[in-house]
Symmetry: C2
Subunit: 337 residues, 2 copies
DNA sequence: CACTAATGCTGAATCGGTTCAGCAGTGATA
DNA sequence: TATCACTGCTGAACCGATTCAGCATTAGTG
């Protein structure tokens, strides 16, 4: 820990006062009519001494810390949701902000104590993030602070929020199939109700698009959003005589199970069955054939959340819906003739 | 932003001085002989006013911020490495520390500017993390700070470091096969040299264990550590008459490619071929049959790094090797008779 | 009763950057 | 010569917690 250089040190070396040095170093020399010669002396001294302002002292006076709290329930359990964090870190860094990243594990007490600590540190703003899209009850303390909800919504819509446009994603998934000519025997795999927003909205979008095209879902295979239940349930469906032309999986993990069930029965993708899914996790591109998926734009969502914080997001219309990009790959083909 | 309650407010309400209030609230009342009655008045006032000390003011005076910088190259690109971050966050939280999480993207200029910013904020310590295990050159500035390397090593071994025990993991992978009776036609898939430490050390451990058992690798199928190259190269190997009894994949993504290649050719796992791998990413448990894998203990490694920081890790012997847990699943069976 | 010791508390300086009020010095104007 | 404007700069208070030095008051001792 080398000795820290203070503003006083710089002022001394430049043979001037702390005040003058301050105004020069903060670029307010115009306002204060500092002579060019003095200005240069200060800048030189700062460079030579490798001066770095102490942000604690600055923050103490100005009440600004250039730091943001990123509070999430449990990002860790969903690997691909990490991009919510990294997107926020990157976007904040562009504005000169650093992020305190915290995890509550869904524990309200821990959450309250964390927020207390963060308030003690005078963070400038809060990003309250959820792993999967859902409605949340944000802690009362945050109502008094600058806060943006990321990947979640407040029940009363009181705070700016950024969420993926799941309904449009549902439409896009259906359209990806419709565009290749599918009209009948389109099945949905996954429990629509499992995740408050994603499941219901994806399903809604799908139904709308199919309805607009004058058709409808042939039916639904209910299962948890994991490979194994999907494999079991969808396998059972096939063994019961199920003969889908196309399958829409509510996420990539379900699609993995569906792939496995189809392959185990010698059905080929996309020749026999087309498959489309949601999330576009790493897995999607690794499957054979590569899986078409509607991506969760976690990075863009995080960037948007930071943008709202930086530009007084209260003005924006919210919640902000971020488009989910369609990643078409080889898992979709024309229906069997 | 509600008005902040200061120590002075508490002192006023308790009809005493800032100093007295301070000693009571920091639990140093014994040392200063504070009367029980006064003590209670202060505590009551603090509670009623919901006093929260301003950590900036505290930090300014004491030079302690209870914050740690977590600097990584690009954790984002490897989803499962997120546990390095979350493990560190959780471990730090247990000690009352918060983490500034930063990403350099491997850009030395950005890295230098970040470290400058972090120094301005007077973080108490630094965790310098790498996505995949490798040797790094840490920035000169960090030599003067309390620093621990996570998942990487300094060329000169100058800083405490925490890395996975890849060599033992290699032995364990081999033993998992040896234990089930495999002795011949054990193939390695992946380029041992690709990742400085992981590849070389895993391979070394594998060779040692096989050699100890009086056997050796039948050969190596070289390929990048991704599903597609593994599928291609290993597929070609099979088509060339390759007939492995067991396959050791250098990571789970390679194993995915190997699974696909085997299934495409009608070979069954584990009846025809046993497969073992490294990393134990989510994928491993999702494959069919579930893949045996030697796990990267990212959380434990991060916890260990934080522990080193908290207990003056300079004393510890380093680098610290963290054991990689063996996750046995159904992908390993006895060899064909 | 003077003196010491213990008890219980307070004032003021400090950390380092920010910011307001204001002051020399010079030249121009009345 | 007095007044004014302008240029160029400085001193000191301030943010809020920490910490040292020290001061009343009471109790105990010779």
């Amino acid at each position: 820990m080398r000795d820290r250089v203070t503003l006083q040190d710089v002022a001394d070396q430049a043979r001037t006062s702390k005040t003058t040095a301050h105004y020069v170093l903060t670029g307010q020399d115009q306002k204060l009519r500092i002579a060019e010669e003095t200005r240069r002396r200060v800048l030189r001294a700062a460079t030579e001494l490798r001066y770095r302002p102490n942000l604690m002292a600055k923050g103490l006076r100005t009440q600004v810390t250039r730091s943001i709290a990123f509070i999430s329930d449990t990002v860790a359990t969903e690997a691909y949701a990490g991009n919510l964090v990294y997107g926020a870190i990157a976007a904040a860094a562009e504005h000169g902000y650093l992020l305190f990243v915290c995890e509550t594990g869904g524990d309200p007490e821990l959450e309250a104590s964390l927020i207390g600590d963060l308030a003690s540190r005078h963070v400038d703003a809060y990003v309250y993030a959820s792993l999967f899209t859902r409605e949340v009850q944000i802690p009362a303390e945050l109502h008094f602070e600058r806060t943006v909800l990321l990947n979640c919504l407040a029940a009363d819509n009181s705070s700016p929020a950024v969420i993926p446009d799941e309904r449009q994603a549902g439409r896009d998934a259906a359209c990806a199939l419709l565009d290749r000519g599918h009209r009948r025997a389109i099945w949905l795999v996954g429990e629509p109700g499992e995740q408050v927003l994603a499941g219901a909205q994806r399903t809604e979008g799908i139904r709308q698009a199919l309805s607009d095209a004058g058709t409808e879902l042939a039916g639904t295979v209910d299962c948890k959003w994991w490979p194994e239940p999907a494999y079991e349930q969808f396998g059972a469906f096939l063994d019961d005589g199920g003969d889908p032309s196309a399958v829409i999986c509510l996420n990539d993990r379900v699609a993995l199970g569906v792939y496995q069930a189809l392959k185990a029965r010698g059905r080929s993708i996309p020749t026999d069955v087309s498959v489309v899914s949601f999330d576009d996790s790493d897995l999607a591109a690794w499957l054979q054939p590569p899986l078409s998926s509607i991506a969760l734009p976690h990075r863009q969502m995080a960037a948007e959340a930071i943008r709202l914080l930086m530009t007084d997001g209260a003005l924006a219309e919210h919640p902000v819906h971020v488009a989910m990009p369609v990643r078409l790959r080889e898992s979709i083909g024309p229906p069997r003739s």
